[in-house]
């Protein structure tokens, strides 16, 4: 499957899901950028939704650069960055109104609080929270607390008619993580390994 088709397929499948849904988006590591494009094309561009992007994999600066390289409009993307601080890479000089730092990916309550704060600030009709990724959060947290976090977060977002998209990387996942995600999600989208 080529890159464009992956992004398009992700967009099309997500278009069908109603607000307040939680979607598990499992991808091959090679499809990461295509999936990102598919999600943001649909929500930020077509639906004009505010995207609250929780990143625990790479810093907001890096992911923003990637998005800009992919010609994705980031004006509707708000980052909750849980990794820059722990990498000692956070500098207030690079911060903007679109970025909130959480000191560590182990502070899951603070992730929920920052998401709640951004939802309160948002004036967009539709909102989506993207968790990137459950695998990187699992590096820093045990499955029990992570499972509890997902359950509380997703339940709270459902009540507010906010979409949740939980990204996971197939190569880094375990049956426990997959079960945890499927327990809170209504739907799963999977993109397989990249075709040659």
């Amino acid at each position: 499957m080529n890159e464009k088709r992956v992004a398009q397929r992700v967009s099309e499948e997500l278009l069908e899901v109603p607000p307040s849904s939680a979607i598990s988006l499992q991808m091959s590591v090679d499809h990461y950028l295509d999936v990102l494009r598919g999600v943001l094309d649909l929500f930020a561009s077509k639906k004009e939704a505010d995207v609250i992007y929780v990143t625990s994999t790479i810093s907001f600066e890096a992911i923003k650069r990637v998005m800009e390289a992919l010609d994705i409009d980031t004006s509707r993307v708000y980052f909750v960055d849980c990794i820059s601080h722990i990498m000692m890479g956070a500098s207030s000089g690079h911060m903007d109104d679109h970025t909130t730092l959480v000191e560590s990916p182990t502070m899951l309550e603070n992730v929920m609080l920052k998401v709640e704060y951004l939802i309160r600030l948002s004036e967009a009709k539709e909102k989506v929270v993207v968790i990137d990724s459950i695998n990187s959060l699992a590096i820093h947290n045990n499955n029990w607390i992570l499972s509890e976090f997902l359950h509380i977060l997703v339940s709270g977002l459902r009540v507010r008619d906010v979409y949740t998209i939980i990204l996971s990387v197939e190569e880094h996942s375990t049956p426990e993580i997959n079960n945890m995600v499927s327990l809170v999600c209504d739907q799963g989208i999977r993109t397989g390994p990249k075709e040659d």
């Binding site: 000191e103 560590s104 182990t106 502070m107 899951l108 309550e109 603070n110 929920m112 609080l113 920052k114 709640e116 704060y117 309160r120 600030l121 947290n141 045990n142 029990w144 607390i145 992570l146 499972s147 509890e148 976090f149 509380i152």
Partner: protein, 250 residues
């Protein structure tokens, strides 16, 4: 005033998560001890309680004990919903207690029983005059230092609580405790005679410092006894449940 179900009327704090914890708000006319060590968000929460009250038409009074109101406001998180109009219209009033001491001629380090009565009367008269429905004393601990004995502290808080309850005023007394203290107040008296105790703390978990809130007691209502994690934001105090998975299992 009792509602149809026999439950006491509530003073909704306006802090969404906190009202949920309190099953709708503080029972009206209660005096609540808001206690915790420094940097836990007590003043922010107490001020937000007043701002929401003032915004919905309930006259609110902040009695500042240690720092003047101007300095306090400069140091506190800038709330998006704090409008100057609330202050200009007199809905939200700030009073510095040291000024009140001076006017009442209370210059000595320790107050006598007569001076306690005078102080209670002065605060209650001001609250009555302003038709105050919400009041905060921040911190009550500094007043207690001037009272010295447990007997005087008990007398002061009981009289103040009664005087404020008589005019239908719901009050928060901010209390400071040492960081590692297991007590709810500095003198051990304040907690026993308050209608409610809300404990704010810094909780360390695997090296992370979380701000927490827990309602220990609240007369006149059921309430959650769970611990919550909070954040101080320009949108107000936000609360989420403390996750337990990491503390109960490896």
């Amino acid at each position: 005033m009792a509602s149809r179900s026999g439950e006491r009327s509530r003073c909704a704090t306006g802090i969404e998560g906190f009202d949920t914890v309190l099953y709708g708000g503080i029972p009206r006319s209660n005096t609540v001890l808001l206690t915790g060590s420094c940097g836990t968000g007590k003043t922010s929460l107490a001020l937000e309680f007043l701002i929401h009250g003032a915004a919905k038409g309930e006259n609110s009074l902040f009695v500042s004990v240690t720092e003047d109101a101007e300095k306090m406001l400069a140091n506190i998180i800038p709330y998006n919903f704090l409008s100057d109009d609330l202050v200009k219209s007199g809905k939200l009033v700030f009073v510095d207690l040291p000024v009140m001491y001076e006017r009442l001629g209370m210059t000595k380090a320790e107050l006598t029983m007569e001076e306690i009565d005078l102080l209670v009367t002065a605060i209650a008269s001001l609250a009555r005059e302003l038709n105050t429905k919400r009041l905060v004393v921040d911190p009550i601990t500094s007043v207690c230092y001037k009272l010295k004995t447990a007997e005087k502290i008990r007398d002061f808080i009981l009289k103040l609580s009664k005087a404020l309850a008589d005019i239908g005023c719901t009050s928060i007394l901010v209390s400071e405790v040492a960081a590692q203290s297991s007590a709810y107040s500095m003198f051990g008296v304040e907690e026993a005679i308050s209608d409610g105790i809300v404990l704010m703390a810094n909780m360390e978990r695997r090296g992370d410092l979380l701000r927490t809130l827990q309602v220990i007691k609240m007369r006149g209502t059921m309430h959650s006894r769970a611990k919550y994690v909070l954040d101080l934001t320009p949108e107000g105090v936000l609360l989420v449940p403390l996750l337990k998975g990491g503390s109960t299992r490896s």
